[in-house]
């Protein structure tokens, strides 16, 4: 499973992008469960967030959904921070 996160906006307006490929990872199951929940709760079109809030684009195996701060689900927040931290 290929999980990509693109974060735009924020006070700084600086974009970040990272992705994780779960194949061969010992914790792949955990990633899959998290990613499926996060995507299921995403929006099909980008929501207009709050002023200076981050906007997120989440792509899992080619399927893209959108979310924006501060109204992320726990799974979305967890997945996004893990991918931005551990991804390349």
């Amino acid at each position: 499973m290929r999980i990509q996160v693109r974060r735009t906006g924020g006070f700084a307006g600086i974009e970040r992008h990272a992705e994780v490929n779960t194949s061969g990872r010992p914790d792949a199951h955990e990633w899959h469960a998290l990613a499926e929940k996060a995507v299921a709760e995403g929006r099909g079109t980008p929501p207009i967030g709050v002023p200076d809030g981050f906007s997120y684009q989440l792509t899992v195996d080619g399927r893209t959904v959108y979310a924006a701060d501060p109204r992320l689900t726990d799974e979305q927040r967890k997945l996004i921070s893990r991918v931005l931290k551990e991804g390349a």
């Binding site: 924020g10 929501p47 207009i48 109204r71 992320l72």
Partner: protein, 356 residues
């Protein structure tokens, strides 16, 4: 919440009107339904004090004038994302151990002061709205935002961004999003969104200048100076004096802001480039303010304030619409043919914005 008419609480206070507007058009009835009902409720309550209901104060119109003192409350999210968090400092209490809390408290006070003393505005809604802010939001959170009813500040990750309460202009920037919300309510997308961002940068910078007692010539005209970690190659996040010059770093890339319409960036990202194209009206303000000289909040700031709050600026205004209102405000406040009018007209011309 006692006055939400049985609506889903999530739509009751947090979501700004332009977001509700968008949600109301959503295909998913689970999203559009509550948003539509909230918009109807808001319309019914308009004319009454919408905020009094939201804050659980008396619903009847207030008979006495709002106070000349701010009503600040600071909360600590304890590195979670729960808002508002635990109350850590109330209005009038002594500074505590947490420098972040104390900085935010002072910044809210400075913002309240500028709006009141320079423009006669009582808090961000013009009617004494309590000022709430949450610090230590989330872990290593490199951002600050206005959620429609309060400010939220992250601690930064320490590698790129430091604590977002460090620059006073960032605090002023966030609160000015509130002022914009309560006045022109500029849609947070594309040109009106870039204008919304520019209002926050302009008044954020003026709050810093007012606090430091700087003239237009003395000011640095930077947004977010002191926010970047020492390892980052850059002086701030944006420069009103020279948009595009704030940083040029291996990790962050280069400041993408244009100074004139020739370099206007068309993009769908960042809500249609709201933090990018704000460089253009930002630079226009800088040009007008430095041409006029003296304290920027007195003349250029007054003109911009009049245009923002005068009631004629629409939610979907373009740069040219705003420019027209500043020209009108310069004429009405300082006289036809005066140096103020000339400076404002020249500033828009220099950044390539045609006055509509």
């Amino acid at each position: 919440m006692t006055n939400n008419g049985g609506l889903e609480p999530v739509f009751c206070t947090i979501v700004p009107p332009h977001v509700l507007d968008k949600l109301a058009r959503n295909e998913d009835p689970a999203l559009s339904g509550p948003a539509r009902r909230t918009l109807v409720r808001d319309a019914q309550e308009r004319g009454r004090r919408r905020v009094s209901a939201e804050f659980g104060l008396a619903a009847a119109p207030r008979a006495k004038a709002p106070s000349d003192q701010p009503l600040r409350t600071l909360y600590d999210a304890g590195h979670t994302t729960d808002l508002p968090g635990t109350e850590v400092r109330a209005e009038g209490s002594e500074p505590g151990q947490d420098a972040t809390v104390n900085r935010a408290y002072s910044g809210l006070g400075a913002t309240f002061d500028l709006y009141l003393k320079a423009y006669g505005r009582h808090s961000i809604d013009g009617d004494g709205l309590p000022l709430d802010a949450t610090v230590h939001y989330d872990e290593n959170y490199g951002n600050a935002f206005w959620n429609g009813e309060q400010m939220v500040f992250g601690d930064g990750d320490g590698e790129i961004f430091l604590d977002f309460t460090i620059p006073i202009d960032v605090i002023g920037h966030e609160l000015t999003h509130g002022v914009t919300q309560y006045t022109a309510n500029l849609t947070y997308y594309g040109q009106p969104g870039a204008l919304n961002e520019s209002m926050s940068d302009v008044f954020g910078s003026l709050i810093k200048q007012y606090t430091l007692g700087q003239t237009a010539a003395e000011a640095d005209w930077l947004i977010g100076a002191g926010l970047l970690a020492p390892s980052v190659t850059g002086k701030a996040l944006r420069s009103m004096k020279e948009p595009g010059s704030a940083y040029d770093d291996d990790v962050l890339g280069k400041d993408p802001q244009p100074a004139t319409m020739d370099d206007y960036v068309r993009t769908g990202r960042d809500n249609g480039g709201v933090h990018i194209n704000s460089g253009i009206p930002n630079h226009a303000f800088y040009l007008a303010a430095t041409t006029l000289g003296g304290y920027a909040w007195e003349k250029a700031g007054q003109i911009w304030y009049d245009a923002l709050t005068g009631g004629e600026l629409t939610e979907r205004a373009f740069f040219g619409d705003f420019a027209r209102l500043t020209v009108q405000a310069a004429r009405e406040r300082f006289g036809d043919g005066g140096e103020e009018l000339q400076a404002v007209e020249k500033a828009w011309e220099q950044v390539g914005v045609r006055v509509l």
